[in-house]
């Protein structure tokens, strides 16, 4: 039971990082990316390769993963600089689909459909460690960084750009640089989560980095509350613990848990959008129709 809880906590912490970094893009920069799983995947493959080819050092794997995902985030930043709103959603959707195919085909790097197996257990300074404390520390770091950026001048610039890009530019803000930095930060965070994910499972394949995963992370952000600090984490806790919670209910047959879960998800999303459109911890007045 303790191992089960520890596993769930690790996964929640990893997805909490993913949701918090996606929230930084959606809630502060107004960049509605549906390709966050791509950078999660890039980080996972990079971290796994570090562990497989060099040393399974958790810190090194996380740093390399963040650097790879942050560096390749230009693939997302370029469309973000040119198009907004639904056009950017379509562009990021294209990126997600293309990346999933590349992950499946680039066998020498990703292991193809079969993925990378036998990733060694992580170490820190040569001592074998659990992923849970590393994941919790990384989550805390990401939340602190996000909060600092959000409350400071950079967060203000991003929100100004989100609300009125041309006015922000007319006040001297280099919109392209600010957006590129925001995307790089968020994608580096997703890469870090990916490395932890790979080290935790000892196995990664393309199934974890598809469109479904991007949508799941976006649902965590929306359910918790976009533009809030704790909302995405709460969204991650709810969406990841619900299946586990249902499995413990004796009156639901094990074979029906999946179907019940889908019904609950659908109903909860509908009710949430009606009664709390800004999410569970979002501003109640925000998002309400004024018509």
């Amino acid at each position: 039971m303790i191992a089960y809880a520890a596993n769930l906590a690790t996964i929640v912490a990893i997805f909490g990082i993913l949701a918090a970094t996606l929230n930084f893009l959606i809630g502060f920069a107004g960049i509605f990316s549906v390709a966050h799983a791509v950078f999660f995947g890039l980080g996972a493959y990079a971290g796994a390769q570090v562990a497989l080819l060099l040393v399974p050092d958790a810190l090194l794997a996380c740093l390399v993963a963040a650097a790879v995902a942050g560096g390749l985030s230009l693939a997302l930043a370029l469309p973000a600089l040119r198009v907004r709103g639904e056009y950017f959603v379509a562009a990021s959707l294209g990126l997600q689909m293309m990346a999933a195919t590349l992950f499946a085909e680039a066998k020498p790097v990703t292991g193809g459909i079969g993925g990378l197996v036998g990733i060694p257990r992580p170490t820190l300074l040569g001592v074998e460690v659990d992923v849970l404390p590393a994941a919790l520390s990384a989550l805390a770091l990401i939340l602190v960084l996000t909060a600092r950026l959000q409350r400071g001048a950079f967060g203000r610039s991003l929100r100004a750009i989100r609300d009125a890009e041309s006015a922000a530019e007319a006040l001297g803000k280099n919109v392209a640089a600010a957006k590129t930095l925001a995307v790089a930060f968020a994608c580096a965070g997703a890469g870090l989560a990916g490395a932890l994910f790979a080290l935790h499972l000892s196995f990664v394949n393309v199934e974890s980095f598809t469109m479904d995963q991007s949508v799941l992370v976006m649902a965590m952000v929306i359910i918790g509350g976009t533009g809030t600090l704790w909302g995405p984490l709460i969204g991650a806790v709810i969406l990841l613990s619900l299946p586990s919670g249902l499995a413990f209910l004796p009156f639901i047959p094990a074979t029906e848990v999946g179907a019940v879960q889908q019904i609950i998800y659908g109903l909860a999303m509908t009710l949430l959008m009606i009664f709390r459109p800004a999410g569970l911890v979002g501003d109640l007045a925000k998002g309400r129709s004024t018509a």
Binding site: A153, R159, A160, A167, E169, A170, L171, V175, A177
Partner: protein, 252 residues
């Protein structure tokens, strides 16, 4: 003669077959208010967009203190000391009034602003002074989206004040303001020109133009038809006919 802070020479821009701006030359001297007057579609806002880099000019040039600015991005022009307002205001609607103004003082795109705590205090002081000058200090923590129309107009002005720009391009800044607000707005402009700010305003309310401007540039069909003192321009019957839509028919 005051120093000319911004100068445009023969700015031109067309959209397809429409020549929106057809060789506009304009000088904005320090400490003076220049009004751009003309009927709808005369090219006034397009001229602003060409100066600020929001639109690329087909030809012509513009200079700030003699430095060419054509080809620069809007944020680069802004950092050279040009601030502008928009007809539709473009406030940062989901930010507070204070944040709107503070954002105007923070230009670095990096994760942090240069200068440390002392510079931050200075920016906060600039924002507080701008809120005080525009009468928005009591509403500092209100969200921009919740403000009344006149307050939104003044918030737009507060951002420009806080930016400490020396050239202001104001697009219909007084439209929709009641008399008391207009008087307050006039005081803001007079205080700015006393500090040496060069102001160019687009305004359809001719009472405001007469009240506030030192000279007028009359635009029609993308060209400056006349330039001079407000009373002289507004008394010209030919210009009045164009402005009020009673354009003389051209000989066939």
């Amino acid at each position: 003669m005051s120093e000319v802070l911004l100068r445009c020479e023969n700015l031109a821009r067309s959209f397809g077959g429409l020549q929106a701006v057809a060789g506009v030359s304009l000088s904005l001297p320090a400490g003076q208010v220049t009004a751009l007057v003309g009927p709808n579609g005369a090219g006034k806002t397009t001229t602003f967009n060409l100066i600020t880099g929001n639109l690329r000019a087909d030809s012509g040039a513009a200079f700030i203190r003699g430095r060419p600015i054509m080809g620069l991005r809007p944020w680069q022009v802004a950092r050279l000391g040009v601030a502008r307002s928009f007809q539709d205001l473009r406030l940062f609607t989901h930010m507070t009034v204070r944040e709107n103004v503070l954002a105007a003082t923070e230009t670095s795109a990096w994760f942090w602003q240069p200068g440390g705590a002392a510079a931050r205090r200075r920016r906060e002081e600039r924002a507080a002074a701008a809120l005080e000058a525009t009468g928005l200090a009591p509403l500092a923590e209100a969200r921009a989206v919740d403000l009344a129309y006149a307050e939104r107009k003044f918030l737009s002005m507060a951002r420009i004040l806080a930016a400490e720009a020396e050239i202001w391009l104001l697009d219909e800044p007084a439209s929709g303001l009641d008399l008391a607000s207009r008087l307050r707005f006039g005081e803001l402009l007079r205080a700015a020109t006393a500090r040496g700010v060069a102001i160019c305003l687009i305004e359809h309310n001719l009472d405001v133009v007469v009240e506030l401007s030192d000279r007028i540039a009359f635009l029609d069909q993308g060209k400056v038809l006349a330039e001079g003192a407000p009373q002289a321009i507004l008394r010209d019957p030919a210009l009045a006919a164009i402005y009020f839509g009673d354009r003389p028919q051209e000989a066939a």
